[in-house]
Amino acid sequence: MTAFLGFLYSIITALFFGFLNKEKEFRCFFAIPLGFGFCSILYFLFLLTGISNITIYKIFEFLLVIAAAFVIFTNKNFHNFCIELPKKISLPLASANLLALMIFLKFYINSPLGNWDGFRMWNTKAEFMFRDITLWKNMFLQPHFLSHNDYPLFTPASVARIWQYAGSDNSVFNAFFYLILTFGIIYFVYFTIKHFKNKKLAMLTTLILMLTPAFLVKGAAQCADIPLAYFILASTVSLFLYFEKEKNSFLVLSTIFAGFCGWVKNEGLMFFAIFLAVTGTYFFLKKYYKKIGIMLVSAMPFVILICIFKSVCKTPNDLVQGFFVLKSYTHLFQAHYYIMIIKTFAHMFVERFSVVFVSLALMLKGFFIPEKIKTPLILSGIIFILTCSGYFMTYVLSPHDLDWLLTYSLDRIILHVLPLFLFLYALCLKIGQEDTEN
């Protein structure tokens, strides 16, 4: 019972920090990644201090919660301290939600500690950050090629922090953390599409994502891929909100979420770089130099954080090492690498993501892009294409056995951008518009 209360407290604390953002409609769904992200950084920095008494961390976080509460309740912009949840959930959405929950739980029952990657790479690191906080750096002594010691610590730190409050490393707690993220992203897709387009399209797109078993299974697999997908989507949605409301706070939020991507996985670092490059170039061409400054200032803490982490882990990146030491750049001129990636992608998409083909039916009504979302849609489209191209080139340049790498990672890579793809795709559709036949 005490463990459960501690676990609940850890969740509530994390969400409370996330509630510091202002947008009422999305507050809850921004709060999930923002709060957990912020708390994971706090926990990591605390471990870096070398203090062996975890109670000090808990007191520190409690004091921060008090400070956050003070900011929220004394700021006139936060007077409406509430969230908007659907008053009435439609029957198809409720039924699909129940079925999706069962698919998630089925995989959890099969693998309570996560799948192979979740167990080996992420939960083992979480154990290091939980069991003896003075010896947590021992995790970097594990065999690198199987543990990926250079991967940032959002998920291990979040899980270990939750375990600290719960006082136990019971797998129920980490599974619940991933459950929140998995279903958080689903409903985030719903609310964003409802906001930018309409309820009907939001429901249809959400149903497709909700009933994609590969998405739910990877959520229950307890890997960093679903959290990364959440941060990528949150960054993009914030960018749309910035263009809609023309408030710099959303540009800051968008950059922060992109920065968090770099704190989740190395692939997220690529997204972070692409995000900064694309939006930075746009503002430069428009001569909005102040906006570039805002973005750089917002990105700086994450750059510093990632530099600190990389200097602590002292582990070379296998891709970079492969490029220079194993001369993997020679792969660039070998056509069979490209063919194998395309063939495996096509095969895997048909085999594991066949539900996504249902989204083709949404095209029957044609396309309609409102003028107000054109700019962010183009920017996000460029970011999406560059991210996918980056993933493609990562495979081409990887020093590992390509067949093995594709088999065990391509589906996860697809998931990083699947919610973003469905979001951008839905924004282009015509269904549910007032001028269409209903």
Binding site: P92, A96, L98, L99, M102, I103, L105, K106, I109, N110, S111, P112, L113, W116, F119, R120, N123, T124, E127, F128, R131, D132, L135, W136, N138, L141, Q142, P143, F145, L146, S171, K200, L204, L207, I208, L211, P213, S354, V355, V358, A361, L362, L364, K365, I431, G432, T436, E437, N438
Partner: protein, 138 residues
């Protein structure tokens, strides 16, 4: 011909129902398993690491713990079963780090064959039919 929104919605529902039909039985199976099946105890990761986790105090203060198995040391990370055994043991003995050699004070042995070769190690404790703790022979 104009297509109505309701037609598209109906089509999407129908297709999604077709795709999800195979999962409907989970509505009964999953709650049953959660309530009546000791799923955590039978899970391969949990069961494998649980036996070592109970004895993790044994390795307290040891930065490194050795590892030995039926698999040749240079092939430990080439076979999926072997990798699984190695990491299950690693998970259990955190914050000690498992290394693929027998030069440490303690060595964990995971053997599937009964006539295993423990080399020059001294058996300290047998944890179950397959899992052993050895000590470096003086």
């Amino acid at each position: 011909m104009k297509i109505s929104d309701n037609f598209v919605c109906g089509l999407v529902f129908l297709l999604l129902f077709g795709f999800s039909f195979q999962y409907l039985s989970l509505l009964v199976k999953v709650p049953f398993s959660l309530i009546f099946v000791p799923y955590r105890q039978v899970n391969m990761f949990e069961s494998k690491s649980a036996v070592l986790k109970k004895n993790s105090d044994f390795f307290k203060g040891q930065k490194y713990v050795g590892y030995i198995s039926d698999v040749e040391p240079d092939k430990v990370f080439l076979q999926s079963d072997s990798i699984f055994n190695f990491f299950s043991a690693q998970y259990a003995i955190v914050p000690s780090v498992l290394v693929n050699d027998i030069d440490e004070k303690y060595t964990i042995g995971i053997f599937y064959k009964k006539d295993f070769n423990k080399k020059n190690l001294k058996l300290v404790k047998k944890l179950d039919e397959r899992t052993y703790i050895f000590e470096e022979a003086k």
